[in-house]
Amino acid sequence: MTQDLRYSALKKTPFHSRTSMASRTNKYYNWNGYTVPTEYSTTELEYTAARNGTSVMDLTPMGKYEITGDHAHRFVDYLVTRDLSEMKDNTVAYIIWCNEDGKVIDDGTIFKFSSTKFMLCCAVKIYNWLNDSAYGFDVSISDVTDTIAALAIQGPTSCSTLKKFGATDLEKLKPFEMREYKIDGFNILISRTGFTGDLGYELWTDPKNAETTWDNIEIAGKELKLRPFGMHALEMTRIEAGFIQTNTDFMAAEDSLRPTRMRSPYEIGMGWLVHLNKNSYFVGKKALKKEKEENTTERCLVGLDIDGDKPAHGSVIYNSKKEDIGIVTAALWSPIMKKNIALASLKRPYGIKIKENIFAEIYHPEELEYRKIWARCKVVKRQFFNPERRNKVPADLYE
């Protein structure tokens, strides 16, 4: 299925015939060069499906790169800050990677099939970065974004939906594990991963199998409160889960026009993924070690629990002296928690040592006028919502 891309701006995913049929709103946006729905019917209902039933999202535009070769494992371990030397086959790991200055390029997930075959999924385009970094390694890198169709199947009933679809024993799969299935004659890889912070899976298959898979999952989830789910609803769930989004919560180092906008992992709450004592070298290690030793980290990314019910989109954050100490990168009125939450990038020591007397200036639009709200904020854990079912094994079933 090749598309004629001459003088066209955006590509269609292999699910386009189905997603466009499911879309009642005709609202689309550009994700990584593909047309995908922002909203199918009502964002609130789509969001609810992810926390109540099963939500299905076309994940194909996500950057996918296959890394194969004798040095694949060594290369991946060199690329990322996390110690992956002990990573087992058929597991997935959450990772970040940095440039040589220790500034974050992107976050993503790495899938290990064997020590000679990996798949990396991420938001930004890094084909060049992977190739440049692979200098001296016996690996080959291919961009499989177009050749693998992907769906996110998330929500409390997602395991049941997929079991009905044909994924036997899926409930036994632990978080960050993956398994190959053969369903309707096609290989389908299912991983227990996702971006909603809930029970959920991601499904990877041949684009030729995309439409059939979509149709059969819809049938399987019919009684399990299944709904297709667009980008807006995903944004809501990922904020609740405290997941960060590249070029929203921080600027990718390779995309920043202004060098001062680049962030180290410690500045975006990803210090836990930096293993400075891992045996082998990794890109950015020297710079990160220096930053840690000299304690030169300038900012932090924190969760805020904000007074009132008006989301603090793009708000500037102030201390009690009304000095500018940071900015909100993502904000949401959380329907499930009934809380006004936000992710914010703050200048240290605010957010780390000073967690009190922090205020958001919220401009709330009200019929061509703005109401200016001065709202008190509490610094809280970024993972706002973390239900037990998310990591439960066996996974909850509705049968």
Partner: protein, 542 residues
């Protein structure tokens, strides 16, 4: 007091002369502009040489003209409008093509057809070049500091310059690494620069075009990367690097400037070629023209290139010897030619699919950097390029004022064409032979092109010198290499628009920030004149 006395005389009614004159008139001075031709505009003109068709005879597209100048001089009021164009294309001999668009994603998809790696590298490349544009932007408006001077103004200027170089305001400051990158960029060849990003020949060739237009450097010559920046640092309404057409041709720019000048009491005199600067006690006090008139003023501002200004209209006895020697050594080598063509209909370019916006802007057919370098090799031998790099566009596709509906005006810029043609130099016959050669080259990509031609004007560097007054026909009024840029432009020690001759100034593209229809040299020079005359300055530019 003698007759014809003014506050300021500007020599040459090109865009920089008119910009300087307008700023000074707006500040309340009595300004007269003297122009040798019986039309005005210098190299920014629209002339109807064949009934029904308007040509942008010299410069043909607009991007560099500073928006602050357009705003200060309210050029919209006097009829100036810039029409952005949608794309650009390089046609390939195998029938394929390569395109860039106004839309970023369309460009990425287009590059991906040729190389996946290049499509992704283009994002990094765009960021890096945009960074360079942001760095240079505030420098354009500055009078370059004299780095050997200890005057507070120069010390402060040097600091200011360093601050801009580190992009303190524009980009919140750069790190060491980015500053080193800038220095490398200014001195590299475009081939070496592009090879750090791209693998496919067609991508490199398409992008390298901007680095050779107007210059006597080849794509492998060090310093050519800067020429690319010089073509990228403009903008159309904030879209950095975009180009557009001036509605009504490039003459609309100078006509609008003249409108502004006249509205503020200034005067333009065509057919008044200045033959010499009149001096008294080592000071410039006026000028004499070909027709025997004399004009006197407190200040004289020359919009001629530095060679014409000091080797033609000024006497050597009025200037320091070392200065004259530097001016003689100034590199101003002509390397470009042009064809302006009146077409009966839109020619077919079968490589570019119908409706593809890539064909809406500049079109080319040079597929590799090697071909480009080969074109340059011909120039070095004093020949026009047998396989030239051309920058073709059809402004009438977007601009309804250039020709009747359905008819078209095509502008073809040609690189490389020597000023000193080997084996006897230019004559009418060889000029026509050159024109026919270019028409043949284009016909290879457009089967019906020749049949549609009603008339064409051929311009060699010789015409550009004789008619427009550009020495050797160099379109930038001096090569854009580091030895002739910023504090070195036009010559070291005299980069602040003042000259060794008291009361004489220079505002042409031979001064910082250099060539192109930018207006910045004119506005910068006006600022210095106003400073020296203690006239308060106002406007967005200053």
């Amino acid at each position: 007091m003698p007759k014809n006395t003014h506050d300021v005389i500007v020599v040459g009614a090109g865009h920089n002369g008119l910009t300087a004159a307008s700023y000074m008139a707006k500040a309340g001075l009595d300004v007269v502009v003297l122009e040798k031709n019986d039309w005005i505009g210098g190299a920014a003109v629209s002339r109807e040489l064949y009934p029904g068709w308007k040509y942008s005879n010299c410069s043909y597209v607009c991007s560099l003209l500073r928006p602050e100048i357009m705003r200060d001089l309210e050029l919209y009021k006097y009829g100036l409008q810039i029409i952005p164009y949608e794309g650009s294309a390089t046609m390939m001999k195998n029938g394929d093509y390569y395109t860039h668009y106004h839309d970023h994603d369309m460009t990425i998809n287009s590059i991906r057809r040729h190389s996946h790696k290049d499509a992704e590298a283009y994002e990094r490349y765009s960021r890096d070049v945009l960074r360079q544009c942001k760095i240079i932007k505030p420098l354009l408006k500055m009078t370059p500091p004299d780095l050997t001077s200890f005057k507070p103004k120069d010390l402060f200027g040097a600091l200011e310059f360093a601050k801009h170089f580190a992009a303190k305001d524009e980009l919140d400051g750069l790190g060491e690494k980015e500053i080193y990158e800038t220095i490398r960029f200014y001195t590299m060849s475009i081939r070496d620069y592009l090879e750090e990003y791209f693998e496919s020949e067609i991508t490199k060739a398409h992008l390298a075009g901007s680095a050779i237009i107007g210059t006597a450097l080849g794509p492998c010559s060090p310093g050519s990367a800067y020429v690319l920046l010089h073509h990228y640092m403009g903008e159309v309404d904030g879209s950095v690097g975009s180009w557009g057409y001036a509605r009504g041709g490039m003459g609309s720019i100078t006509q609008a400037m003249m409108g502004c000048l006249k509205d503020h009491g200034g005067e333009v005199k065509p057919s008044s070629e200045v033959t010499n600067v009149i001096t008294k006690n080592g000071k410039a006090i006026g000028v004499a023209t070909q027709n025997g008139d004399e004009y006197y003023a407190k200040k004289i501002v020359s919009n001629l290139d530095v060679k014409r200004t000091f080797l033609k209209i000024t006497e050597e006895k009025d200037l320091p010897d070392d200065f004259v020697r530097s001016v003689k050594n100034f590199k101003i080598r002509g390397s470009s030619g042009k064809l302006n063509i009146a077409l009966d209909a839109l020619p077919d370019f079968p490589c570019i699919p119908e409706g593809d916006p890539g064909g809406g802007g500049d079109m080319h057919f040079t597929e590799t950097i090697e071909e480009m370098e080969g074109a340059y090799d011909d120039w070095k031998r004093g020949e026009w390029s047998r396989n030239p790099y051309v920058d073709m566009c059809i402004p009438s596709k977007s601009d309804p004022t250039m020709a009747e509906p359905g008819k078209h005006y095509m502008s073809v810029f040609i690189q490389y064409v020597p000023f000193n043609l080997a084996n006897g130099g230019w004559n009418e016959e060889r000029k026509q032979e050159f024109g026919r050669h270019i028409v043949d080259c284009i016909s290879e990509f457009s089967p019906n092109f020749k049949d549609l031609i009603n008339h064409y004007e051929v311009r060699t560097p010789l015409e550009l010198e004789n008619e427009v007054g550009l020495t050797e026909g160099n379109i930038f009024q001096g090569e854009l290499t580091m030895d002739q840029l910023m504090f070195n432009r036009p010559v070291p020690g005299y980069a602040q628009y003042r000259t060794p001759l008291k009361n004489m100034y220079i505002c042409s593209s031979s001064t910082h920030p250099g060539g192109g229809v930018m207006g910045a040299p004119g506005a910068n020079a006006a600022r210095e004149v106003l400073l020296d005359m203690n006239v308060p300055q106002k406007g967005n530019y200053y």
